[in-house]
C-alpha cells in the first residue's frame, strides 16, 4: 500500500495527516475488537493506543517496521486489548516470540506513560500550560514568561520545577494506589 508515504508524513512531522491515512485501517481493527467482545468505544480506545505505541516506536532510532502498518497495528491492538482484559496465562507469556515479547513490553511501558498523563491532567491549568509550552512547543522561558505574564524568565523557570515536583508527587501516589 502507501506505507512509504505514511512513513514520510511521520518523518516530516505531519502526524495528523499520517494518522488520518492510518485510520483507513480502523474498520478492520474495530472488527477484531468487536469479535473479542469489545464495544465500538473500546475499539476506538484500543486503536488510539496502538497508534500512540506505533508513533513512540517510530521515534526510536533502532526501530524498523518489518511488516506493514496494518499487520503491526493489528498485533499491537490485540496486545492492548488483552492488556485491558488482563488475560495472559503464564503459558502464553512463555510462548511469545521475540517480536511479541517486545510488543508486550511496549504495551506495559505505555501503562506508565498513561499514569503520567493522568498525573499531568490533574495539575492546575497554569502548570499544564507552562509544561506544555516548554516540552511540546519548545518555547524558551523568555517567551513563556511574557506569554503567561510571569514577572521574569527566572520565575517561569522556577515555576516549571515546582510544577514538575507536583506532577511527580501525584504520579507517585497514583503508582502506589495502582499496584
Amino acid at each position: 500500500m502507501n506505507d512509504k508515504k505514511i512513513l514520510a508524513l511521520f518523518k516530516n512531522g505531519q502526524e495528523e495527516k499520517a494518522f488520518l491515512k492510518l485510520y483507513a485501517l480502523y474498520p478492520r481493527i474495530e472488527k477484531l475488537i468487536l469479535s473479542k467482545g469489545g464495544t465500538k468505544n473500546d475499539a476506538q480506545d484500543v486503536f488510539q493506543e496502538a497508534l500512540i505505541i506505533l508513533h513512540r516506536n517510530l521515534e526510536k532510532t533502532n526501530f524498523k517496521l518489518i511488516s506493514s502498518f496494518y499487520t503491526y497495528l493489528y498485533s499491537v491492538s490485540r496486545f492492548v486489548w488483552k492488556d485491558i482484559q488482563k488475560g495472559y496465562s503464564k503459558q502464553e507469556l512463555m510462548d511469545f516470540s521475540k517480536e511479541e515479547t517486545e510488543m508486550f513490553q511496549d504495551v506495559l511501558e505505555e501503562r506508565k506513560y498513561k499514569l503520567a498523563e493522568k498525573a499531568f491532567s490533574e495539575l492546575g491549568n497554569r502548570c499544564r500550560q507552562l509544561l506544555q509550552l516548554f516540552y511540546l512547543k519548545d518555547w524558551s522561558f523568555k517567551v513563556i514568561a511574557t506569554h503567561m505574564q510571569f514577572k521574569s524568565e527566572k520565575i517561569a523557570k522556577n515555576q516549571k520545577y515546582k510544577c514538575l515536583k507536583k506532577v511527580k508527587s501525584i504520579y507517585e501516589t497514583l503508582i502506589t494506589n495502582h499496584s
Binding site: K11, N12, G13, E15, E16, K17, F19, L20, L22, Y23, A24, Y26, Q44, Q48, L51, I52, H55, R56, E109, E110, K112, Y113, K114, L115, A116, E117, K118, A119, F120, S121, N125, R126, L131, Q132, Y135, L136, K137, D138, H147, Q149, Y161, L164, K165, V167, K168, Y171, E172
Partner: protein, 598 residues
C-alpha cells in the same frame, strides 16, 4: 528541592544529548550509584511520555474526526448519486412511456445503463444551478433581529415575567459563502471573511447564503445588560471590545473552516492585546486565551487570494515575470543576467547575515537546509516571510535575516509594478553524520499585515445601517484573527503593582441581584460572586476608584443601585435602589458609559 532541580537539569541535558561524551559518562555513573537520581530519571521519562500522549491524542482525535466526516461525506454522495439515478430512471421511463405511445419501437433494455452513467454529472450541475440562482436572487441585505438567543441564556434564570431585559440587538447580514466579504458594523468593528470559510457541524463546506449575526459590546452599558464581565480564570482583563458572532444556515449553527479577521476599533492603542473566547457557566462568562496554535493557522489565511485584488494586487511567478525585481547593486542588462545576479546577491546576503552559531549550539551535524519563502511587494519590500527549517530557532533566524533585506526595485509586468513570490534554499554542511530531521514552519506576519490591510481598505464592503459612533479620523484598530465563532473578546491582562485588598462585603436586600463592578481607570467589569448576601470580588488593588452596579428584577420592575466607591476593606455596604422599567434601566446604564476616564 534544590537537588531535584539539579537532577532535572542534568536529566534534560542528557536526554537532549547536549552532554559531551565525558559528561554523559559521569551522568551514567551517578545514575547507577544514586537511587533518588534513578527515581527522578525514571519519573522524568515517564512524564515526558505522558506529556507526549496529550499531544498525540490531540492529533489522533483530529484525524478521527476528519476520517469520520470524510466517510459520512462519501456515504452521503453515494446516497445522493443513487437517488438522483433513480430520479433520472424514473424521468426517462416516464418520457419513454410518452415516446412509447408514439414510437413503441424503442428498446427498453438500454434504459438502466444510460441512467446510471448520468448521475455524477447531474449532481454537479444541480448544485451549480442552485448557487447561481441564489447569487442572483438574494442581494446582500441587512436587518436587525430582535433578541439574541445566547444573551437570554446568559441572563439569570430567576425571572419569570414577560418583561425582557433590554438586550442589544444583533446586526444581521446575509452573505454569500462563495465570496470574500467585509462587514462593517455600526460601532466600528470590521470583519473580513474569505470565500468558503464556513462548515457545518459535520465538517462539510457550506455553500450559498449564510446568515451572519454580530452583536457588538463596546459600551459599559451594553456589557452590563448582557451580563458580561472581563475575567479569565479569575484574572482581570481590560477589554478592547467584545463580540458575539454567529453564522447560521437554515437555522443550524455553522463553524469556521478557516480564520476570519476581526478589527476592533479603539481610541488609543494599548499593547499586548490578545484574543479570548468566552465560555459561559453559571451565568458568568470566563474568557479563555486563544492559543498560539490558532495564531499560526491565521497566517495561512493571510495569503492573498489573487481574484480579490484584481486591480490592487497582482502576483506573477518569479520565473515568468517580464521584468524581474532588481537587487541593489545589480547593473547587468537583460532579464536572464538580472535574474542570476539577483539570485547570487540574495544567496550571498543570506549566507553572510545568517548566524550559523545557532546550529552549532543545537549540535547539528551533517547536511541540513533552511528554506526561506517570501514575497516582494510592488514597492520592492519583503513581506509574508516564512521558513521551513529543521529547528524553530533556525527558522526564526531566517526570518530575521529576510527582514534585513534592502529595498529592491520591484518586478514589473506590462510596465506595472507587481508582487513576486521568491524562495531561497540555504544548504549547510557541518562535519559529522547527517540525521533525518522533522521540518518546522516558522512564520512572521508583522510586515505583511500592514500591506495586507492597505489592500483591504480599497475593497468594496458592506455597510450596516446606523451611524458610526466613532468618527473615522480617530479610528485605530486591533486586528485579530479567529477560527472560532461565538463570544470573542479582544483583551489584555492587567497587572497592578498596588497593594491588594480583599473586596468582599455584605449587601442588604440584595437577594437575586446581579452585582457588578466597573473600574474608572480601565475598561473592565467584574461580577461579584454571591453567597448569602455576601458579594466577593477577590483581591483588588487598594484605593482603586470603582462603580458598583447592582441590578435586580422583581416581577416586571427593575431595581438599580449605583455607588461610587474606593476599594477598601469593608464588611457592609448600603445602597439606594431606583425603581425603573426596562427602557429607563437602559438609559440609566448608558450614563455610565462616560464614567470611564478617557
Amino acid at each position: 528541592m534544590e537537588k531535584f532541580t539539579k537532577n532535572i537539569d542534568a536529566i534534560e541535558a542528557y536526554l537532549k544529548e547536549q552532554l559531551s561524551y565525558e559528561e554523559a559518562l559521569s551522568f551514567e555513573q551517578d545514575l547507577e550509584s544514586d537511587v533518588d537520581f534513578q527515581n527522578d530519571f525514571a519519573f522524568h521519562k515517564a512524564f515526558l511520555g505522558g506529556v507526549k500522549r496529550t499531544s498525540l491524542k490531540k492529533d489522533i482525535q483530529q484525524a478521527r474526526k476528519l476520517y469520520t466526516t470524510k466517510r459520512y461525506f462519501k456515504i452521503g454522495i453515494l446516497i445522493t448519486a443513487v437517488l438522483v439515478g433513480f430520479l433520472l430512471v424514473y424521468l426517462l421511463v416516464l418520457k419513454t412511456n410518452d415516446n412509447n405511445s408514439q414510437d413503441s419501437q424503442l428498446p427498453k433494455k438500454e434504459l438502466p445503463s444510460k441512467a446510471i452513467i448520468v448521475p455524477p454529472v447531474s449532481i454537479d450541475s444541480i448544485l451549480n444551478d442552485t448557487i447561481i440562482d441564489r447569487k442572483e436572487d438574494i442581494p446582500v441585505e441587512k436587518k436587525s433581529l430582535k433578541g439574541n438567543k445566547h444573551i437570554s441564556n446568559a441572563k439569570d434564570s430567576v425571572e419569570s415575567s414577560h418583561v425582557d431585559w433590554p438586550v442589544k440587538n444583533a446586526v444581521h447580514f446575509v452573505l454569500l459563502s462563495e465570496k470574500d466579504t467585509i462587514l462593517k458594523l455600526p460601532e466600528g468593528t470590521q470583519i473580513k471573511i474569505k470565500a468558503n470559510s464556513f462548515k457545518n457541524s459535520k465538517g462539510l463546506k457550506v455553500q450559498g447564503v449564510v446568515d451572519f449575526r454580530v452583536t457588538e459590546y463596546y459600551k459599559i452599558s451594553d456589557m452590563l445588560l448582557a451580563n458580561l464581565s472581563t475575567t479569565s480564570e479569575g484574572e482581570i482583563l481590560e477589554t478592547g471590545g467584545m463580540l458575539f458572532v454567529e453564522a447560521l444556515k437554515e437555522g443550524e449553527n455553522l463553524e469556521l473552516d478557516q480564520s476570519i479577521e476581526i478589527s476592533f476599533p479603539c481610541k488609543k492603542k494599548e499593547k499586548d492585546m490578545q484574543l479570548f473566547t468566552g465560555e459561559w457557566s453559571d451565568s458568568e462568562v470566563n474568557w479563555v486565551l486563544v492559543e498560539e496554535e490558532d495564531e499560526l493557522e491565521n497566517l495561512e489565511v493571510m495569503e492573498p487570494v489573487s481574484e480579490i485584488f484584481e486591480e490592487a494586487y497582482v502576483e506573477v511567478p518569479f520565473n515568468l515575470v517580464e521584468q524581474p525585481p532588481v537587487f541593489p547593486g545589480c547593473q547587468e542588462e537583460g532579464r536572464e543576467a538580472l535574474i542570476s545576479c539577483f539570485n547570487e546577491k540574495m544567496k550571498a546576503f543570506f549566507l553572510e547575515k545568517f548566524n550559523l552559531s545557532i546550529a552549532e549550539e543545537l549540535k547539528f551535524t551533517g547536511k541540513f537546509s533552511v528554506k526561506v519563502f517570501f514575497k516582494i511587494d510592488a514597492e520592492g519590500n519583503v513581506f509574508n516571510v516564512y521558513a521551513h527549517a529543521p529547528d524553530k530557532k533556525l527558522g526564526k533566524e531566517a526570518l530575521r535575516v529576510a527582514h534585513l533585506l534592502p529595498q529592491m526595485s520591484p518586478a514589473k509586468q506590462r510596465d506595472k509594478e507587481v508582487v513576486v513570490p521568491y524562495f531561497i534554499p540555504l544548504e549547510f554542511k557541518f562535519p559529522g553524520k547527517t540525521r533525518s530531521r522533522r521540518t518546522f514552519r516558522v512564520a512572521d506576519d508583522s510586515l505583511y499585515v500592514q500591506s495586507f490591510d492597505r489592500k483591504w481598505m480599497e475593497q468594496d464592503s458592506i455597510k450596516a445601517s446606523g451611524k458610526s459612533s466613532v468618527s473615522s479620523s480617530e479610528i485605530l484598530q486591533y486586528v485579530m484573527a479567529t477560527s472560532k465563532l461565538g463570544w470573542i473578546n479582544c483583551d489584555r491582562f492587567v497587572k497592578s503593582q498596588k497593594e491588594k485588598v480583599k473586596y468582599k462585603f455584605k449587601l442588604k436586600n440584595a437577594d437575586g441581584s446581579k452585582v457588578s463592578l466597573v473600574f474608572k481607570s480601565i475598561k473592565s467589569i467584574l461580577r461579584g460572586k454571591s453567597n448569602n448576601n455576601y458579594f466577593d470580588f477577590g483581591e483588588l488593588p487598594k484605593e482603586e476608584e470603582v462603580m458598583l452596579v447592582v441590578i435586580r428584577k422583581v416581577g416586571d420592575t427593575f431595581y438599580l443601585g449605583l455607588k461610587e466607591e474606593l476599594v477598601r476593606d469593608i464588611s457592609e455596604m448600603e445602597l439606594d435602589f431606583k425603581e425603573l422599567d426596562s427602557a429607563s434601566l437602559k438609559q440609566e446604564l448608558e450614563k455610565l458609559n462616560t464614567y470611564l476616564e478617557e
